[in-house]
């Protein structure tokens, strides 16, 4: 096991990783920008290194600064968290080149899965269902028209180098294709430095269901069931749950096997998530693979009892998987609400000083957060303040527990999305488990 790990991240996930390291007896090094000098992850780590000014491009995204910090502190491994450099194959490569273990998959796996069109082709080659779509990025409008006609409208245009909802456009009918193609390509170029786009059949109202997998360095892999992340606003997840109300155990095992076959074909190692769309008939289609620990990993931890961050550290240190597929049990139901420092109606960021921060407690409640009373939420990074996670015997009890926990939680000084979550948790469609990716859009329109 490593004796010292550097956490190349900030906020709640940096705190989470430090927690796992401490429990494993690993010394921790935090890196921080000048805007994060008072941050909780800096206070909790054994050592801390200031790596740059507030702007992420000059600090948390600066490969040289992070590697240099690892070298001067003697860190043996780097955990990249999520976001920032977590899925940057160049960073993973530089780590290995400097003799520092990157806690995650290989640079080539990251690269492979980062090319979304190539990942689709790989999944299809494994016999995993994919939505009808273009084999390769489309070269021009002519080709796009041909492909779209073959797939059948409506189609969705997606950035090949992308994710996070950028560089995506839905095209309801042929007349809209030309301008949608141009804007999607421009957005993709701006967001990812690559204008390549591919086309896919558009499902009007699917569920977003993703499978958590773990693979060790000996080629052994297991899946830990699914998370339903259908509640999204502009492709940003807000509320997640495990298990999904839509899955039978048979479907879970089928999706799990499909996810593992994609991971195995990619020579994958460590934790990863394979995302699928599920239509009303229960057919699933591969979307993409995320080669990192995800924000919503806690709901899987609650229902399986497996500490995913510790698993990442152990796998990176060369240990085999801690359990076999037969050992994996899904027990009870878990929900997670992402609490953002945002106006709950318009979702605009609300940075500032937290004059009060009182998280909820009691049975089955977990809070993953870097916030504390007196903390100043900086304007330079994302607005996630923390996650409230609950676990209970069944979905009904989990919902009641989350309602209770959010009612109990007090955050003052900034606006938060708690009132928005409270609305979702009382909505009849949510209570009935009738959620899909358009649920939120409909709820917001009802207001």
């Amino acid at each position: 096991m490593f004796s010292k790990v550097l956490i190349a991240n900030r906020g709640e996930i940096a705190v989470r990783i430090i927690q796992a390291c401490r429990e494993l007896g690993i010394r921790t090094v935090a890196v921080f920008s000048q805007a994060d000098a008072d941050a909780l992850h800096v206070q909790l780590a054994d050592e801390a290194v200031c790596i740059g000014p507030p702007q992420a491009a000059q600090s948390y995204l600066k490969v040289a600064a992070i590697i240099s910090a690892a070298e001067i502190t003697g860190a043996e491994a780097i955990h990249p968290g999520y976001g920032f450099l977590a899925e940057n194959p160049h960073f993973a490569e530089v780590c290995e080149g400097c003799g520092i273990r990157f806690i995650g998959p290989s640079a080539s796996s990251i690269q492979m899965m980062g090319d979304k069109a190539a990942a689709r082709r790989m999944a299809a080659a494994q016999g995993v269902p994919v939505l009808p779509g273009s084999q390769h990025p489309v070269r021009d409008l002519e080709e796009a028209r041909r492909v779209a006609r073959d797939i059948g409208y409506p189609v969705i245009i997606k950035a090949s180098a992308g994710g996070g909802g950028k560089g995506m456009r839905v095209v309801p009918e042929p007349d809209a294709l030309e301008s949608a193609l141009a804007t999607a390509a421009a957005e993709a170029a701006a967001a990812f430095g690559d204008a390549a786009v591919y086309l896919e059949r558009f499902l009007p109202d699917p569920r977003h269901v993703e499978i958590q997998i773990l693979m060790d360095g000996q080629g052994q892999g297991i899946h830990l069931g699914e998370r339903d992340c259908s509640i999204q606003r502009r492709h940003q997840k807000l509320l997640e749950e495990a298990p999904s109300p839509a899955l039978t155990d048979a479907l879970r095992q089928a999706m799990g096997r499909a996810a593992l076959s994609v991971a195995q074909a990619a020579g994958y190692r460590n934790a990863g998530t394979v995302e699928f769309l599920l239509d009303e008939r229960g057919s699933f289609y591969f979307m993409e693979m995320n080669t990192r620990i995800q924000v919503e990993h806690p709901v899987t931890e609650m229902v399986t009892g497996v500490d995913l961050v510790k698993a990442q550290l152990r796998i990176a240190a060369g240990e085999p998987l801690p359990l076999s597929q037969a050992d994996v049990r899904i027990s009870g139901h878990s929900l997670e609400c992402r609490i953002n420092a945002e106006d709950p109606d318009r979702f605009l960021p609300s940075p500032g000083r937290l004059t009060n921060f009182r998280p909820p407690g009691g049975p089955g409640v977990r809070v993953d957060s870097h916030a504390y009373a007196g903390y100043v939420v900086p304007p330079y990074y994302d607005s996630l303040l923390g996650k409230v996670i609950v676990h209970a015997h069944d979905r009904g009890e989990a919902i009641a527990r989350m309602q209770r926990a959010l009612d109990e939680m007090q955050i003052e000084g900034v606006q938060t999305t708690i009132p928005f979550h409270q609305k979702v948790l009382r909505h009849p469609d949510f209570l009935a488990g009738r959620t899909s990716t358009r649920f939120l859009e409909r709820l917001l329109q009802e207001q």
Binding site: A37, Q43, V49, C50, S59, A65, A69, I72
Partner: protein, 145 residues
């Protein structure tokens, strides 16, 4: 005195809005001065833990008034000279021009020459040869000249 104690001292200072603290214990002395615009972790915390004595992280208030800090623009290891055994780039009392190389910061096996941004006389050298430094850490104090 270890990192935990240092951090506790810092929290004490911060909580009571104290700018400077000096503690003497069993023949060892530490002086910590807070600079409002910078990280609260003292530069001394960058040293590896086994260090028996801790370097003072700053100078008394009356000495630094009017002095211009030369801050590290990167994370790395500070060297006073172009090579081991060579003459240091600057000594206390030397006059530097804007653009004069004052030290090297090594990061990822690359030697980066750090230049003074203003003309001045080297008043204090705050770090030692071979010491790890972080972004924004004050390396030298210059008297305007």
């Amino acid at each position: 005195m270890d990192l935990k104690e240092l951090k506790a001292l810092l929290r004490l200072m911060e909580g009571n809005d104290v700018e400077e603290l000096e503690v003497e214990e069993g023949g060892r002395r530490i002086r910590i001065r807070r600079r409002s615009a910078q990280a609260l972790i003292p530069q001394a915390a960058m040293l590896p833990v086994p260090q028996a004595t801790v370097q003072a992280a700053g100078a008394p208030a009356q000495d630094t008034a009017g002095l211009i800090p030369v801050e590290s623009p990167m994370v790395g290891t500070f060297y006073r000279a172009p090579a081991p055994g060579a003459e240091p780039y600057v000594k206390e009392g030397d006059i530097v021009q804007k653009g004069t190389t004052v030290c090297i910061i090594e990061a990822m096996k690359l030697m980066n020459e750090i230049e003074a941004e203003v003309k001045g006389r080297v008043a204090r050298i705050l770090v030692e040869n071979g010491q790890p430094v972080e972004f924004g850490q004050t390396l030298f104090l210059l008297e305007p000249a």
